[in-house]
Assembly symmetry: C2
Homo-oligomer: 227 residues x 2
């Protein structure tokens, strides 16, 4: 029983790091193909979970979409629930890494935040990742493990990072409202709303997220005079 879980974890580890000993050696064919299959399953599972939610998603459908037999899924994941949890980790982590890479802090705080917003726009809003965020909001209460992970890895870091930027902005005189540092959520809120809007209401009323975020930054920093 526990053996299988261990094996799944090992397979996952192999995906990113083919055995500590051989270091940079190329992965064996087997490991490569196993990793490819795992990725296919993760991709298929993401599509299905996003489209139907956790409970209504059938493993048969995931298997079919991934071009794999159902049993194969159980070679990589303990069960449906932990597949969902690992899926979230697998997809979220690279995004966080990407978005955490801030540009040189030589520019103005506004430019820093604007760059971040641009990346967020490109990497999340209106993409499958955005749908995944909506899915986390949807399933979070039923998956404390997911909600905890998301809070720890994404939300708390995002809030902390944004707070640091706001404080820098205040110190430099770019931001005039000191209280803003107490609620970084206010700065992030429109971006989150854009994510949800695209998932739910885009077909009723399309939203120009980029333009909206610019207006929001104008509100925080004051309107741009010259570039």
């Amino acid at each position: 029983m526990t053996k299988k879980l261990t094996k799944a974890a090992a397979a996952k580890a192999a995906t990113r790091n083919p055995e500590a000993g051989e270091d940079a050696a190329p992965m064996s064919n087997r490991a490569t193909r196993a990793a490819e299959r795992r990725d296919a399953i993760v991709a298929a599972a993401m599509e299905e979970f996003i489209a139907r939610g956790f409970a209504a998603t059938r493993l048969d459908d995931i298997a079919k979409r991934a071009g794999v037999a159902k049993g194969t899924i159980y070679l990589h994941f303990k069960d449906k629930e932990s597949m969902f949890e690992e899926l979230v980790r697998t997809v979220i982590v690279p995004v966080v890494v990407k978005l955490s890479a801030l540009p040189p802090p030589t520019s103005s705080v506004r430019d820093l935040i604007e760059t971040f917003a641009g990346n967020f726009l490109k990497e999340v809003i209106g993409t499958r990742r955005g749908d995944l965020v909506r899915l986390i909001v949807a399933e979070g209460p039923r998956f404390p493990a997911v909600a905890d992970f998301y809070y720890r890895e994404v939300v708390s870091r995002g809030i902390a990072g944004m707070r640091a930027l706001i404080e820098l902005g205040i110190a430099r005189g770019e931001i005039h409202q000191a209280n803003l540092a107490r609620y970084p959520q206010i700065v992030i809120a429109p971006a989150m709303i854009a994510v949800i809007w695209q998932s739910l209401f885009a077909r009723h009323a399309p939203l120009d997220a980029q333009d909206m975020l610019r207006v929001h930054l104008d509100l925080i920093f004051g309107e741009r005079r010259t570039t």
Copy 2:
């Protein structure tokens, strides 16, 4: 087949309007009890759906919680799906009505919005209604009927109303950023984030929604000097 649906609708109508002819006449015991049962089912269903999501909710559990046999549910609702849809309507409509009642427009735009935010805080944020909003975000994509209804009755009205207020604020010189009227979402966003935050992260990091909304209004209107 269609008869049953009609009957359910009739029972529902009877809840609020006991037969057009007799006007103010008291409802018969039967109709009263039927209405009470329907309400009990709606309340039970809301709890269960919020806790488990649509797909994972068992009608047996709803019945048990409502103190009713499973068959009774089908006297009031066509099936699980339309029960969910009617539930959303039943719960949302009164809230919209309540929140639509604006105070006399003699006060400043800031006061108008602040009053609205206060009501929203009391009626939605941190309540079962707030959880329901999260549920709509969660299930919306799988229930176009629900998403459409919510967009039509809540979102589009809210956006339009807020836009009117913003334009008034601009005209009166209370709001300086004219572009804000193009994205009323920006004004509403923190309130929505507060709703979601309470559902998902309150136990990780409690959020003083009221204070946050005040800070946000300070950002839009400039900080308060005197009252």
